[in-house]
Amino acid sequence: MRALLVGLSLLVAALFLASLLTGPADFGPLEGLAALIFGGDGPVPIVMHEIRLPRAILGLAVGAGLGLTGAAMQGYLRNPLAEPGLIGVSGMAALGAVIAIQTGLSLQAILALPAAALAGAALGVGLLVALAGPRGGSVTLILAGVAISSLAGAGTALVLNLSPNPYAANEIMFWLMGSLADRSMLHVWLALPPMLVGAALIRTTATGLDALTLGEAAATAMGVSPSALRLRLVAGVALIVGPATAVAGAVGFVGLVVPHILRPWVGARPSALLPASALGGAALLLAADIAVRLVIPERDLKLGVLTAIVGAPLFLHLIWKTRSGGRV
């Protein structure tokens, strides 16, 4: 368990460094790192500080947030299909962000953007938890998730199509698939503080989630208050997924793949899965973001494309296992 966390931390650190050193600008890794740490004149420090550093930080934070919320939602809903991207929580956050941007709210108050995305995410996850609950019914969860995510996707497309801005309609792809291209430190400052608060809240749910594995009644008998647990979970997920989606779009499958891969390594204990999933999510998203810059660098390939290529087969595998009886 400790070895796993140390190994994952080293992997995340290496990928963070690799993300800082990946880009079209032609300078050596040592020159780049020196400019990052010591600053100085010329264009290299600007590239490192204003372009690559925010991208790497957001890759780390968004990935960690998606991994963490995926593990927490799967723990609470007791269902391995629960994932913010698939069941519409990210989609609702994107809808909130798009509304804030297109109504001009985000120009009047800069915090309106993460706040609106947070409200959207809270609505999405609140609806899901109310509909599916901690009983682990797959059908309810999937039906509710499909309904919420198609509604959110349609709403996002509608708002962007109605925009007077000629570019807006082309951005549906960004909001559905996510990208970290050309984000700035401003986006880091907008997203990071609420995400940290959300992560702290999710951390407090760890023991409650462990107790819940024994069933609702047993958990209540062990002193876990179901309503308090639910409230902290919904708030934590919204605080993480909302701001992350507002700056990076809806990146799917991270919260599905990572907990699934890591669950056997932590003895299926939700409390241990939370930190491991956060690290694993950060590693997956950083790797995907490095890949989009290496594979077809001139095309701004969307992050969600890569995570879906990895995640969709796994999702089908999970459905298969769920279908053939028994819980996964």
Partner: protein
Amino acid sequence: MLASVRISDLIRAAALVAAAALPAAAGPQRVVSMNLCTDQLAMLLAAPGQLISVSNLARDPRMSPMAEQAAEYPVNFGRAEEIYLMRPDLVIAGEFESGPTVSMLRRLGIRVEVLPPAESIEAIRAEITRMGGLLGREPAAADLLARFDAGLDAAGSREDRGRAALYYANGITSGRGTLAGAILESAGYRNIAGDFGITGTAKLPLELLVMARPERLVTGAKWPGQSRSEAILDHPALAAIAPATAKVTDRDWVCGTPFILRAIEALE
């Protein structure tokens, strides 16, 4: 600023002189233009009453330098039906007009001339002459052309003003083969797009733009509403490389018409 006023007066005077001349005798009598750029050339060259409709975009002050003049013409939205009902004897379209509309108008027996977008000074000169020929207004076209050349001599710069970059939403830049590139070059700037082998319109990663360190930055205009595509124009890295020298492209940059003289002057 003074010079800019002078040149636009020049253009307007040319238009007035041309318009005051004898009405077209041999040329078409009911001309419809359905493209923002041909709208402007047609308004500059047509005889009174000869041009009966311009496109709706010609009235948009964000894109059309002749929005006020366009208000005096009925507008069309580029639909075959409405244009047919205007009973034109010549329709002038741009290359970006919808193919089905143009072919339907031709099937209905209307003469449609398609003009390619002018992406260089030479192309603009050729377009003025061609429009004059289409309208049967050769003397007016020769007059406008002479004034355009005089304006180019006055506005163009032979000295080297340094390296400049064009940068638009989605991180797009324009090379020397585009109208914006031609404007930049006429104003005496060296376009950094050439350093990357870009002659047309292509994506230039923000990192490479920063590394190229242009001395002058010309960015695309913002549209109402907001978009993530345009957010790159507010990126702090852009502000860091080109402090206080940013110029925004406007309606004088959209079409290959004599109005690019104002864009060239504004850069100097």
